[in-house]
Amino acid sequence: MSVVTVVRRAVLWVPDWPVVAAMTEAGLGADVPAAVLHGRGLVAVSAAARAAGVRRGSTRRLAQRACPELAILPHDEGRDSRLFEAVAAAAEQAVSGVEISRPGLMIIPADGAARFHGSEEALAEALVTAVAEHAGIECAVGAADGLLAAVLAARASELVPTGSSREYLAPAPVDSLALAAMERAQRQEAERLASVLTRLGIVTLGDLAALPFADVLARFGPVGVWAHRLASGEDLAPPVLRRTEEDIAVEHVFEDPAERIEQLVHVAKEAAAALDRALLDAGVRCGRVRITARTEKGQDLERVWRTDVGTRAGAFARHMTDRVRWQLEGWLSGTAGGASGDKGPEPSPLVSLGLVAEDVVPLGSEQAYLWGGVSGADSRAHRALERVQGLLGLEGVLAVAEQGGRSPRDRAHLAPWGQEAPPARAIAHPWPGRIPDPPPATVPPVARPALVLDAGGAPVTVSRRLAVSAPPTWVRLEADPADERAQAANRHPSSGHVGRVEGPVWDRARPVESWAGPWPVSERWWSEDASRRAYLQVALRDGEDTVTAVLLAYGGGEWELEAVYD
């Protein structure tokens, strides 16, 4: 499962990193008031300048009025990250494996490192000492469960005890969400969200975490989900100690537009070999290859091929040569349909061909077994599901689990794939009155209406004392919406309807072969969603030797189809 567990982490934070980096490069002492200017405002201010009254975000003129001797330094993101490498190297003297989430902020998975140093206090001390000694820079270290709590703890140089991140975060203002944003675009979104939340009266992270998750998702979308999870002290992703890989692309431009397949075979081979070489040079392999081509008429064609062939011994190059050749043949002859199922492009000479390797992973993380089959089947499945979630939205793919309950519908627990599910009801509890096994294979998401009739055609009822008014003899279920005959029959005046059909469209009445019940289930009588129902297992005769078994429920004077044993 791709559910992210909360990881205990230590965060190393260098206050005002852009200005510290700029001062280091300019050779200024730490006591000189300095600020970094970007565009129209200051993006970072040194401690001395802050003491003199210079604020982040103010303009150059305002800052110089507050502090005339202020050194104003240019903004340079490259310099920030370059110099932070030295800090990371210094920190690596004390721990192994750090994740630089942005210049000035470093994440260290705390568990192992703290065990090595003896305690988290010792780890923090070792980190601060190592950075001060080797990089000559003062930093602050904090530790907590979850990303945001750890960042806030670092700013306060605190160690938040395990399991109390949520309480620790609760009084913090919603503005602090921006501190966990690692890119500028994300930071702007977080700031915008915080301002909306503040205007709505949600001032602290505790208020935000108290809102229902689904409502936050509905109102604010992905950024709301991100904020809600952070505010609840959860993690978005486990710390990644390697950089993500870029897609690798190879392009070939034809000197003359190619219109015959013979011209292309050689090119396909060369392009595949070039991509193979590029992948090997980068020490990676790929899960998908996107083949793109441009026709003489300026039309762009593209198709994605999935590949699981390793890059060993040229197998990948051979495999891809075939794929590229097939694809080009299809495009040239005009037989290949587009990806969306529409008519294929007009046959036309090709002027360029491109191959892009996607789903790039480091070599060796997905090793093939000796005899076929790929050990990375799990990650492949996860990638496929993530792609479907990209198509249909987060709720489009569901994970299912079994939970305790009485009716078949209650016993299934659905949650969006990859999301942490709320705790299911325990299966081990006794659940008296549970519908006995075998479980039905078809359980409609909502119960469908049904009619249960006695031999005379009158509705069967179940009294409060569980007496069935008459043996059920006929059952009418809802008709298939595609069944025109049933629709027409329901429109017929003899069925009691004239004109448009209101309510359910009934299928023909089916004779009951045998039945069992009623089994009473009275649930949650103390609460609003109390239900008092009686269940009936009924076997319906459908034809010569076909019997369909269904589970019907009676409650509030109505029968409902709960499940079909098909």
Partner: protein, 234 residues
């Protein structure tokens, strides 16, 4: 005087012995299979071959039974367009719910969704009301053949390798107001794309497989069945 069947059986055995000795058990080699529950041995005697399309009409239980043993042995299963799939029934059949993903309402994206699932999963169950054109189905089938995925589609599918239709179903255990559903015998009509006449097989699909009281199973005795299951999971 031995009968013709016995002679053919003896000849086949001799041939199989030679094949084993030389190491050319051809169909095993060319068509890797996924594990299949012993219950369905008579339905698919050649096993659950990777890359094939099986159309199933009239029984969700049968679809689940087809996917069960493979899922238990570590395969991934996706159910596309089946909002009414009973999760408990799937778990009892032996599917591992941790490796089962449901895409209940793919809507207009049915082709893309099914394609992605065929790419990444080992067994894909397709519901009856998916917006798939004939061309989409052909493309899915060829993708499944290339990827070694098994497609189990509810309803009809032109060009399916095997079409299974539930033609008869019989339940035991219910009376007139008493008892409960206990056992079920399902009669399945099997049509192969390769031609040949349709076969009818009756399976004790409920009861025996679930360990309840059930009529004795035909076909393989229980002991060899459990051995088969172990071999499939290994």
């Amino acid at each position: 005087m031995e009968t013709a069947e016995a002679r053919i059986a003896r000849a086949r055995e001799a041939l199989a012995g030679v094949q084993r000795r030389v190491g050319t058990t051809r169909d095993r080699w060319e068509a890797p299979t996924l594990p299949l529950t012993p219950l369905l041995d008579q339905v698919l005697p050649q096993g659950l071959r990777r890359g094939q399309v099986i159309a199933v009409a009239g029984s969700t239980s049968l679809m689940l039974a087809l996917a069960a043993a493979a899922s238990e042995a570590g395969s991934w299963t996706a159910a596309v367009g089946m909002p009414a799939l009973g999760a408990v029934a799937a778990a009892r059949r032996g599917l591992d719910l941790a490796r089962l993903a449901l895409v209940p309402h793919p809507g207009a994206q049915a082709a893309a969704t099914a394609g992605a699932c065929v790419d990444g999963m080992d067994v894909v169950l397709l519901g009856p009301r998916l917006a798939l054109s004939e061309a989409d189905r052909r493309r899915l089938a060829s993708r499944a053949r290339e990827r070694g995925t098994v497609i189990v589609a509810e309803g009809s599918w032109t060009g399916a390798h095997t079409t299974l239709t539930a033609v008869g179903s019989r339940w035991h255990g219910l009376g007139a107001g008493d008892g409960r559903l206990r056992g079920r015998e399902l009669t399945v009509r099997i049509e192969e794309r390769r031609g040949g006449t349709a076969r009818l097989v009756t399976l004790p699909i409920e009861g025996a497989a679930l360990g309840g009281a059930a009529p004795p199973r035909r076909g393989a005795p229980a002991r060899s069945a459990s051995l088969r299951a172990l071999g499939g999971a290994a």
